[in-house]
Symmetry: C2
Subunit: 337 residues, 2 copies
């Protein structure tokens, strides 16, 4: 269980702990209910699968997406809302499990991945089951608009994964293309979380597009900042070596911006230049030297500002809800800052 | 497009062509509408993905599951019904694409698999997208009971895939365990197809459980018969070498029954004994010599009979609908007979 105390103790997550504190008993209570439901989700699907799912679940994570569902809902605390948060987190977990298969990743959040412990087939099927369970739990709510939001995000995630593979090692990825990838791989699920909260909560369907737009912008900020952290480290705080994106051939904003600033870096063939953690760290240092990290952080902050701007379009949003949403918006770019 | 003429020309599918002929303009028209919708489903998701999806689609297939949706619906011909059929076929295709990744399969229905043409990552993401699109199109219908049927089938498929991997090469798989696997991997989606037809068609929700039970039984018969064909061939008609299940370590009913009859076969370590097509064909011959294939066919026929028995529980089913359903039931075990 992620409690406010756990989160506050997690490096770089003090801002999220602040959100939790500000969210009070309602938010903590909802997150606890979501966590309980997540624990039950794989029961009855076989011991092996249950092991993989509960392993993935207990590895934790910030539960940022469920939090967005809850905060977007205003004061609503229904079971349907908890179900929506669970569905969003399940979909997120499904993509993580499949990403680990594709990356051949052995560890996630310091624990063996399903791929590492169960092999490729078990991990693929576990991911598929998490997908299915996400839709299954949400179907029980009986709201087609809610299911549409989840399935659109799910289509976008798959499309984003494909784009990322298409762009691997490419020297020609421009900022716009990179942002489109972030939108598909990350931001659309953030948007879905906010949309679900609006649909099933106090704001209602009329406010859903605006809250979804807010979610998309903080999702973009979140992903950009994540990509900055991959270059900047420090690895003892991010929990992974610097430059893992470079090793995968994933071209992110820091590299794109650095290539514009350093012609030597622009001419570098990533596939040859980056072969291990040491060479990846070297390229990270070169990227940092160009000032690209500060520039990328500015991009992220612009999306945070745009997200907050969106909120002004909602007339009847409560002061408490607005300030919570703004705290989350600030939170996604203040990790390890 | 699969027309009655194409299907009649496909070896072993004459029975299905008969279903189509008996189904008349309504059934052919609905199948054409489903085919058109399937062709549009990947539009707007990037050229690479669209290529993979349309390749998978144009490779054909019997569209047996869409047919079950339509026949279960009675005289209904709504767009929602077409959407449900499309969703079921998309889910089926998603599992095929992921299965091919896990099996490292190069060909399916004589065409390169997505795995072969695009690689592991593209195929995993393509499968994920097909999953997502299945739920996405069905969500637009706005019926939570329909989405529940699809997502339950999807959970079952993933669970069945896991069971199959768990049981690989095992000498201890009993008939009951095998049937449970068939239920999860195949029959639950057949059941969902019939349930969806009932829910969105003339029979309505009250008849949905009975039609689903019918679908489950013919799904079991279908899978058993498929597993018999893998042993019996002939490969020029099934389109694949005999014993591919044996090469994968997938223990199916013919082998289970043959082991009970031939102690030498029971003692055989599959992993050592089956290493190539020639040795697989040898083991197939040994299985056939025990009479296990006839026994397995009888199992399948018992499920066909049980399926027809289920239909009697529906009071107000039309004679035409009943006879079409019975034709399909007979059809699933008359391939290559």
């Amino acid at each position: 269980m992620s409690t406010a105390r756990d989160l506050a103790a997690t490096p770089g997550l003090s801002q999220i702990a602040e959100v939790l504190a500000a969210g009070g008993d309602r938010l903590s209570g909802l997150l606890e209910r979501a966590e309980d439901r997540l624990g039950e989700v794989a029961v009855g699907y076989g011991a092996e699968l249950q092991g993989h799912v509960s392993g993935t679940l207990s590895a934790g994570g910030k539960r940022l997406r469920p939090m967005l569902v809850f905060i977007s809902a205003g004061d609503e605390s229904s079971d349907d809302l908890v179900t929506a948060a669970v569905a969003v987190e399940l979909l997120h977990m499904a993509t993580l499990v499949h990403d680990d298969v594709l990356d051949g990743a052995q560890l996630r959040r310091g624990r063996p991945t399903v791929f590492a412990s169960g092999g490729r087939a078990a991990a693929t099927a576990t991911g598929d089951l998490l997908f299915a369970r996400a839709f299954s739990v949400l179907a029980a709510v009986g709201r087609a608009d809610a299911l549409g939001a989840l399935s659109d995000a799910s289509s976008a995630l798959a499309r984003g994964e494909l784009l990322q593979r298409e762009d691997a090692w490419s020297a020609a990825v421009a900022v716009e293309r990179y942002l489109e990838r972030c939108r598909l791989k990350t931001a659309r699920l953030f948007a879905a979380a906010c949309r679900l909260g609006a649909l099933l909560g106090d704001p209602g369907p009329d406010s859903a597009p605006v809250l979804a737009a807010f979610g998309e912008r903080i999702g973009l900020a979140f992903q950009i900042f994540d990509d900055v952290l991959d270059v900047s480290g420090p690895s003892e705080r991010t929990g992974k070596a610097r430059g893992t994106d470079l090793l995968d051939g994933t071209v992110t904003l820091p590299l794109i911006l650095a290539r514009e600033r350093d012609s030597g870096l622009a001419a570098l063939d990533l596939r040859r230049a980056v072969s291990d953690e040491a060479s990846a760290a070297e390229v990270c240092d070169r990227i940092a030297e160009t000032g690209a990290l500060e520039e990328a952080r500015k991009h992220a902050l612009r999306f945070v500002a745009a997200a907050k701007q969106e909120l002004r379009a909602i007339k009847d949003i409560g002061e408490r809800q607005r300030s919570l949403l703004e705290l989350v918006a600030d939170g996604v770019v203040e990790r390890y800052a």
